[in-house]
Amino acid sequence: MDMSMRKGTPLSGPLAGVTLGRPMALSLAVVALAALAPWLVSAYELNLLARFLAMALLAMGLVLVWGQGGVLSLGQGVFFGLGGYAIAMHMKLAALGDGDLPDFMVWSGLDALPWWWVPFKSPLVAILGVVLVPGVVAALFSWAVFRRRVGGVYFALITQALALAFATLLISQQPSTGGFNGLTDFQTVMGVDLGTPAAAHGLYWLTLALVVGVFVALRALMTSRYGTLLRAIRDGENRIRFLGYDPTPFKVVAFTIGAVLAGLAGALFTLHAGVVSPALVGVVPSIEMVIWVAVGGRNSLAGAIAGTLAVNLAKDGVSSAFPDLWLYALGLVFVLVVTLLPGGLAGLVADAGGTTWGRRLKTLIMGEAK
């Protein structure tokens, strides 16, 4: 959406020349409100919001991968898990004295730390690991598949097998991964006591800042030449090939960015929730992540955030009261959104221009179109 096409208020001072359109003003208001959340909602609600915002990072990645790139990944949980386990392993190790082992390893009869745990003792390695491990795995995996021009439905099925294999592996390697229970019971991260309200607020703001930063960055990426080509590949890969481009690197880059964001989301989620386990990374959670974006609108970053919040709030509300009902509801949402509302909530807002009331609502939100 081109800002210059919309009526807005010119700013003065150092921002002279920047036009503050209504969408921009609305976004700033939403961010400001979100930043004040620690004083507006209870500690429990703040924690929920923080978790959902962490997940929104992953959802925005899916907008790039699925909405813009046309690559459906049913294995985002894997990258979410890699990020989550990277930070969780560090927190487990940081709480120990020299030569001690995490409690679950002792119970399983392990007498030495597995070699792949050792580097995560260092906070720097852990933070880099959150980003690099999912990134490298995703880059290698997607390159191997895309370079042989295997994509579409095949790619989706392979990513689902990846999610299944990853979750099964985590559960079966109980002595070194914590098995079905995962890793939990963290006290501190980087020397900060996780139990204090100050830590909760700080982590919330960190998450919010990342959401805003990623939103701006992805938006820029989507409007860049790269974004245009990515959409062109989605709509006609062979035409792009005949124009002389190799689509593979474009798709690999998109998938890798999506995985890095998923890893970041997993790490932040682990900090907020205090646990990471195979139940968050398997086949079902991975495909649930796609539905957040489908509900919000697969081509809209704001829609992805809204969809993530909406689906997870609904899940939190419905599944605690009626656990059986939730799966029916989720199944129905899948069917209905995909068949009747492929553009999601964002598509609904965009289409609303068709009716008088809709046009008024849209003008109210988006500003007057010239």
Partner: protein
């Protein structure tokens, strides 16, 4: 103690697992070749077949109950397939990835319904007396090798279904229509073939075969609400390996996946075998991205 009985046992296991994958993957591969859609609720057709077998055995308890269950499961699953195709998949046929998501929703609903009706723990289907024994090799190089009769029965069912299906496709008028649509949809429609009817019948046939597979599956273990899930993911990999719309490709790919899993499990545990299978599939498409048997190229089908 020689290792031969162990290896031979695993090879045999590989064949019987492969025959289950064949039954599970045939429907997927057929409709994928024809319509380019994957039905994620296909695993639940296996589950449905299993529960229908359980119900049939309540009504027909005798030794022939399991044989009576097979047509029941076939027709039951085919009917559900018909409903699914006409209400959902038909509408989404131009959007294959969306079909995947919508049918996944159906799969969630069916699983939860099974959980509410039959309980989460699962129900047992007891193999009849004539299947409830095993053949043991007592002498020679393979001494100690045990082959359960149920596993032989599964092999026989898979061969019978494969045989019937290839006859149907190669020798009947319906088969001719299916092959025509498979080769060139637009041309077939122009020649007056009712393409929609062909789609629908192939889809029903595929879900019916999955229902049949569910009966066979019920002989191996309890029927649970997510029994289908454990077979359908390898079946998806079979579709990836098999090549578009080819019966032969699906059969060979099932054998590859079944034998690979069984043989790797001699050396590593089940979970690592899954990871290795995935790596194998990714490795395989480096050499044959078009699948085992390529009827048409995958590269330019956009």
């Amino acid at each position: 103690m020689s290792e031969w009985p162990l290896i031979a046992g695993q090879v045999f296991n590989g064949f019987s697992v492969a025959s289950l994958y064949v039954l599970a993957a045939l429907g997927l591969a057929l409709s994928f070749g024809l319509m380019r859609v994957i039905n994620m609720a296909h695993g639940e057709m296996l589950m449905l077949g299993g529960y229908l077998a359980y119900l049939t055995l309540q009504v027909v308890p005798g030794p022939l109950g399991i044989l009576a269950a097979m047509p029941v499961a076939f027709l039951g699953a085919a009917t559900v397939g018909a409903v699914l195709e006409t209400t959902l998949i038909k509408r989404l046929s131009a959007r294959p990835l969306d079909t995947l998501l919508a049918t996944w929703g159906v799969s969630l609903i069916l699983q939860q319904a099974a959980r509410n009706i039959f309980g989460a723990i699962g129900v047992d289907v007891r193999a009849p007396e004539w299947l409830n024994h095993a053949y043991t090799v007592s002498s020679g190089q393979f001494a100690g090798l045990t082959i359960p009769a149920t596993r032989l029965f599964i092999l026989a069912v898979a061969f019978a279904v494969m045989g019937a299906l290839s006859l149907l496709l190669a020798r009947t008028r319906i088969g001719l229509l299916v092959r025509a649509v498979n080769q060139d949809r637009g041309m077939a429609a122009a020649a007056g073939i009712n393409v929609r009817a062909v789609d629908l019948s192939v889809f029903c046939l595929g879900t019916g075969i999955a229902g049949l597979a569910g009966v066979v599956l019920a002989l191996l273990g309890p029927v649970t609400p997510n029994v289908g899930q454990s077979y359908v993911v390898p079946a998806f990999l079979v579709v990836v390996l098999g090549g578009l719309g080819s019966l032969k490709g699906t059969a060979i790919a099932s054998l590859i996946v079944g034998l690979f899993s069984a043989l790797v499990q001699i050396l590593v545990d089940v979970s690592l075998a899954q990871v290795l299978l995935l790596l194998f599939v990714i490795g395989f498409i480096q050499f044959r991205p078009q699948g085992v048997v390529a009827v048409r190229s995958r590269a330019l089908d956009a």
